[in-house]
Amino acid sequence: MSKVHVTTSVNGDEVEFLADPRETLLDCLRDHIGLTGSKEGCGTGDCGACSVTLDGALVCSCLVLGVEADGKRVETIEGMADGAELHPLQRKFIEHAALQCGFCTPGILVAAKKLLETNPNPTEEEVRYWLAGNLCRCTGYDKIIRAVMDAAAELRQEAA
């Protein structure tokens, strides 16, 4: 079973790896390039813990093959902060206690960032539906929704 040489950009860095064509992008991120921030909660696209963007589209990296990433841009949780400076969503999640175990947090942050890029002023209902593919079993979502709304407000203020 021969492996495929994949060249891709991850969080702005050019990365190369050899992938078995059966391996998912999530497997490749975690096991070949050591980026374990994206999590596998289900492997079937139902929990969103592995959320990344692929050429700007929000996807479950467990439903993308590693070989499909060739020539594309991948953004993961590890690229969300700007050096030591957290993205407002990351800060607001800590401030609002929007995580308990924290396992779903990377995927939710990646998905929420894409939401706010798409829709800077979402309603509570829009946030809930956008994040419906990101399961959290600890929080009941309440503080997550508040943190996203608060970060959105802050980002709007910055932009104004």
């Binding site: 492997g43 959320s51 929000l58 467990c62 439903l63 093959l65 419906a132």
Partner: protein
């Protein structure tokens, strides 16, 4: 497993026709990868269609309809103003498939080829009178969408054949469509019942209609009796009752982990009534 990236449909068809073992086509991958992961399917050849020119495009056809590429993800359908204006029911069916993340990958063609009777995007396509262009080793042919699924998980595609585009007819004036499904949660479920209605009005009267149901039979089903129940009516109370009755009568569902026979049969009628009213409102210019 061998991974192929052909650049034409003809090459893809040739690859598939020559392959000895199990072959799968890859567009969005949201079904194939899940099946591979669960060990249900271990393909020998996986043919990725995304390097073929035009597969990610939505184009207006000369007759006023639409041609949708096989790798157009749900999110791109929803972002396409012209398509949303013409066929909101088709678009909302696709948009109900999975989460935001799934929408970034999943395609109409994939949803159709998975062969599930519960596929959310298929009733809308059937009600719309959509067809598919099929490319095979011997050339292309065009087939109505309702003829593609033949039983759960099985399609009418022959070995070496693959869908190369989805074709929507011109919408025309005073017409609207809608799709509703029932799931226990608000998101992330497979339809327990799905119902799509497409209709045209002459004044306040329904002059033409197509009704399609999902998850109530071995395949998505076109229900002419349901359409007949509302053609020539203004969707008054008695027409809606007749519509619901015809929809329920067309159901031959199963009891399974997602719903019961009685529930599916009952709710098929309820949803069809509700979908018809939305389609009518859209035909009258309501953009919601």
């Amino acid at each position: 497993m061998r991974y192929h990236t052909p650049t034409t449909f003809e090459d893809a068809a040739q690859l598939a026709a020559r392959a000895k073992g199990l072959t799968r086509f890859l567009a969005g991958g949201t079904d194939v990868l899940v099946q591979m992961r669960a060990g249900m399917v271990q393909p020998d050849d996986l043919i990725d269609l995304k390097k073929i020119a035009g597969v990610s495009e939505i184009t207006a056809t000369d007759d006023g309809g639409w041609r949708i590429g096989v790798a157009v993800p749900g999110i791109a359908l929803g972002a396409h103003e012209g398509l949303c204006a013409d066929w909101p029911g088709v678009v909302e069916g696709m948009e109900l498939v999975g989460s935001t993340q799934i929408q970034g990958r999943a395609t109409l063609t994939g949803n159709l080829c998975n062969g599930s009777p519960a596929a959310d995007s298929v009733p809308g396509l059937v009600a719309a009178g959509a067809s598919v262009e099929i490319t095979g080793p011997d050339g292309t042919r065009t087939v109505p969408v309702e003829d593609i699924p033949v039983s759960p998980g099985k399609t009418a595609l022959e070995a070496g054949e693959l869908i190369s585009a989805i074709l929507l007819p011109p919408r025309g004036q005073n017409a609207g469509d809608a799709y509703l499904r029932f799931i226990p949660r608000t998101e992330m479920d497979i339809a327990v019942v799905g119902s799509a209605v497409s209709l045209r009005l002459d004044g306040d009267t329904v002059s033409d209609a197509r009704v399609a149901l999902g998850a109530v039979a071995p395949t998505v089903k076109l229900v002419p009796e349901a359409a007949e129940a509302i053609i020539g009516t203004t969707l008054d109370e008695s027409a809606l009752e007749a519509l619901a009755k015809a929809a329920s009568a067309a159901c031959s569902p199963i009891d399974d982990k997602r719903g019961t026979v009685a529930f599916r049969t009952e709710v098929a009628g309820v949803l069809t009534k509700r979908a018809a009213l939305i389609a009518k409102a859209r035909a009258k210019g309501d953009t919601a």
